[in-house]
C-alpha cells in the first residue's frame, strides 16, 4: 500500500500494510457516545444574534455546495441552479456567491459552462453514487469522466460493505486510486455515516479517508437517513483537527443532507469553531451539502436586514 503523501512515521507505519492499518484504526480511542452527544447539544444552545448572526449567515451562504442529485434533473434545472449560485438573491447584490454546485457527472458540462470564470467550482459525485456498488474500473471511469467534463471537485462514496466487513485495505486502495484519477480535482470522501452505525466506525472511516488522501471528509450522500447529524460532524471535526496536529495539513469537512434551516447551519458553524478551530471557518475547509438550506439562509438574511419576517414569495424557491 502506498502512502499518498509524506507522513510522520507513526502514520506512515499505519499504512504500510493491511494488518497495520487495521491495528491503527482499531487502536484509535473510542468515542464517548454520551459525551459527544451532550457536547453537541450543549454547543447547539449558543445564542448567535444580530451582527454575528448576519455574519454567520453570509459565511454559511459562501460555504454552500448547492446540490441537485435527482433522477429527474434536467439541463435546464442545472442551469437555473447555476444562476442561483452566482447570484443567490438577485435583488441584493451584496449576498456572497456559494462555494460550488454539486451535480451528477452527466450534468457537469452544463454546470461548468454556466459557471466559467465565476470562481464557483463544479463538484460532481462519482464512483457509482450513492450506493458505491460497482466494479473498480467503472468507478475510475466515472471519476475520469467527471473530471474531463470539468469538475473541480469529486465527491466519491466509500464501499460501506467492505468497510463494515473489516476490509479496510480495500477501501483504502479505492480512495488512493480515485484520488489519482482525480488529478488536480479535490476529492471529498463520503463516509455515509448513517450506514456506519457507531461513532467509533465514523472515527475509523474518517482517519482511513484522511490517510488515503481525501481532501474533504463528507458525512452522507443525502439518500440515507439519518444523514448529517451534529454529533457525527463533531467526531469528524475532531479527526481533521487531530490530523492537523499530527501532520500540519489542513483537511476539510462537509456535512450533507438534512441541514434545512439557518438555525441548524449556525449550530454547525459553532461546532466548527469550537471543535476544529476558527481556521476551519472557511469555504475551503468547511462546506454544507444542501439544496433547500440556501432558501432559508436568504430568507433569514432578509429578516435580519429588513426588520420583519420574510417569506418564500420573495426569494427563488427550488
Amino acid at each position: 500500500m502506498a502512502a499518498p503523501t509524506t507522513l510522520p512515521s507513526a502514520l506512515a507505519d499505519a499504512v504500510r500494510d493491511e494488518s497495520s492499518l487495521r491495528r491503527f484504526l482499531h487502536g484509535l480511542p473510542g468515542v464517548d457516545q454520551v459525551g459527544v452527544e451532550q457536547r453537541a447539544a450543549g454547543l447547539g444552545t449558543r445564542s448567535i444574534k444580530k451582527a454575528s448572526k448576519l455574519h454567520a449567515i453570509d459565511l454559511a451562504i459562501s460555504m454552500v455546495d448547492l446540490t441537485t442529485l435527482e433522477g429527474a434533473d434536467t439541463h435546464g434545472k442545472v442551469r437555473g441552479l447555476a444562476a442561483k449560485a452566482k447570484r443567490p438573491d438577485p435583488e441584493r447584490p451584496d449576498v456572497p456567491q456559494v462555494a460550488a454546485v454539486c451535480v451528477y457527472p452527466d450534468m457537469v458540462k452544463t454546470a461548468a459552462d454556466e459557471l466559467k470564470g465565476t470562481g464557483i467550482n463544479v463538484a460532481s459525485v462519482a464512483t457509482a453514487f450513492p450506493s458505491g456498488r460497482s466494479t473498480m474500473d467503472i468507478k475510475l471511469a466515472d471519476t475520469r469522466f467527471a473530471v474531463e467534463q470539468g469538475a473541480a471537485e469529486v465527491d466519491m462514496v466509500i464501499d460501506r460493505g467492505a468497510f463494515l466487513s473489516g476490509r479496510y485495505g480495500q477501501v483504502f486502495e479505492e480512495i488512493v486510486k480515485i484520488k489519482e484519477a482525480c488529478g488536480n480535482a479535490h476529492l471529498k470522501v463520503i463516509l455515509e455515516t448513517g450506514e456506519l452505525v457507531t461513532y467509533d466506525n465514523v472515527r475509523r472511516a474518517s482517519w482511513l479517508a484522511l490517510l488515503a488522501g481525501g481532501d474533504f471528509i463528507k458525512t452522507s450522500t443525502g439518500k440515507v437517513q439519518p444523514a448529517a447529524t451534529l454529533p457525527v460532524t463533531h467526531v469528524m471535526l475532531q479527526a481533521v483537527r487531530d490530523w492537523k496536529t499530527q501532520t500540519g495539513e489542513l483537511r476539510g469537512v462537509k456535512p450533507a443532507g438534512g441541514i434545512r434551516n439557518t438555525k441548524d447551519a449556525i449550530k454547525y458553524l459553532v461546532a466548527v469553531h469550537e471543535v476544529a478551530g476558527p481556521e476551519w471557518l472557511d469555504p475551503h475547509l468547511f462546506r454544507f451539502g444542501a439544496s433547500t438550506l440556501l432558501n432559508d439562509l436568504l430568507m433569514q438574511r432578509r429578516t435580519q436586514l429588513d426588520g420583519h419576517y420574510s417569506g418564500p414569495d420573495y426569494v427563488t424557491v427550488d
Partner: protein, 287 residues
C-alpha cells in the same frame, strides 16, 4: 374531610396541531371579570407567531386543495365536538365575560349555530360568488373564488367565544389557514376551542391559536412576508393605523371591521368574501 383543592391549569399554545409552550417561556394569569384567578395562559412571543405562520403555510396546500364538501364535513364535525363541550364553554364564557349563566348559555348556543352556518357555506361559496362570464368570442370564461392564503386574525377582545367563532369560521370555510391572536384578557374559551379543533378532524396547522398580548405580537404578523391577509377586529385602537401601514408593505388584504361589531346579528357573506381572490379562466369553445 377537607375540601378538595382543584387543579390549577397552565395552558399552552396551539400551533401546527400540537400544544407547545411559548418559545419565550412566559405565561400570564387569567382572571374572571371580577379579578379572581382562573388559570395561567401562555404568553406568546413573535417567534411563536413566526412558527404559527410556518405551520399555517404548510397546512394551506392540503386544506385549500380539499374539496368544499370535505371541508364542510370537517367543520360540521367541529360543531358536534363544540356541542359536547357546551357546559365547559358556558362556565368559561360566564366567568370570562362576567355574564349570568343564562346569557352565557345563549352566547354559546349562538356560537355553535354560527359555526354550523359557516360550515354550510363551504360548498356554496363558488356557486354564489363565482360566475360564468359572457364574452364576445368563442370562449368559456369562468370566474371562481380562491382562498387568499394565510390569514392573521386578531380576535375580538370582548366577545370571547361568539366573536372568536365569527372571525375564525369564515376564514377557514373557504380554504384559508389562519393564525389567531386571542382576546388578551379572556383567552379561556379560545383555548378550549383549540382543544376542540385538536380532537376533531381539522388538520394540524389550519387553525393556530396564540394567547398573549395583542399589541406585542400583531405588528410582527402585520409585517410578515408570508401572511396574505390581516383581520384587525381585535386590534387596539391606537395600533390600527400602524398595523394597516405595515400590512401595506407586503400588499396584504386588510379587514378593518370595528371592535364594536355586534356578533349576535346574523352575519352576511362579507367576512368570507374578504379572504377570497378571484381567478378567471378563459377556455376555448368547441375544440
Amino acid at each position: 374531610m377537607s375540601d378538595r383543592i382543584s387543579v390549577a391549569k397552565t395552558y399552552k399554545l396551539y400551533i401546527g396541531g400540537a400544544f407547545p409552550r411559548s418559545e419565550s417561556g412566559r405565561s400570564y394569569p387569567v382572571t374572571d371579570a371580577k379579578g379572581t384567578f382562573l388559570a395561567n395562559a401562555a404568553q406568546g412571543s413573535r417567534k411563536d407567531a413566526r412558527d404559527a405562520v410556518a405551520a399555517a403555510r404548510k397546512a394551506f396546500a392540503s386544506w385549500s386543495g380539499a374539496t368544499a364538501y370535505n371541508r364542510g364535513q370537517v367543520l360540521y364535525r367541529v360543531a358536534e365536538v363544540l356541542e359536547g363541550r357546551r357546559e365547559q364553554f358556558i362556565t368559561e364564557v360566564a366567568a370570562s365575560e362576567g355574564v349570568p349563566l343564562k346569557k352565557a348559555q345563549s352566547l354559546v348556543d349562538t356560537a355553535i349555530d354560527r359555526w354550523v352556518w359557516y360550515a354550510g357555506w363551504t360548498d356554496k361559496i363558488t356557486a354564489v360568488l363565482g360566475s360564468s362570464n359572457p364574452v364576445a368570442g368563442p370562449y368559456f370564461s369562468f370566474s371562481t373564488p380562491e382562498p387568499t392564503g394565510v390569514v392573521a386574525v386578531l380576535a375580538p377582545q370582548q366577545s370571547s367565544l361568539l366573536g372568536l367563532v365569527s372571525v375564525i369560521a369564515p376564514v377557514i370555510a373557504s380554504g384559508n389557514t389562519c393564525v389567531v391572536i386571542t382576546s388578551q384578557d379572556r383567552p379561556l374559551p379560545a383555548i378550549t376551542l383549540s382543544e376542540v379543533l385538536a380532537t376533531s378532524d381539522v388538520p394540524g396547522g389550519v387553525v393556530n391559536i396564540i394567547t398573549g398580548r395583542t399589541a406585542e405580537i400583531a405588528p410582527w404578523l402585520a409585517s410578515h412576508g408570508d401572511v396574505n391577509a390581516l383581520d384587525l377586529t381585535g386590534a387596539p385602537e391606537s395600533l390600527r393605523t400602524e398595523l394597516e401601514r405595515s400590512a401595506a408593505g407586503t400588499v396584504k388584504r386588510v379587514l378593518r371591521n370595528k371592535a364594536s361589531e355586534d356578533f349576535a346579528q346574523v352575519p352576511d357573506l362579507s367576512r368570507i368574501r374578504a379572504y377570497l381572490e378571484t381567478k378567471t379562466v378563459w377556455h376555448p369553445m368547441g375544440v
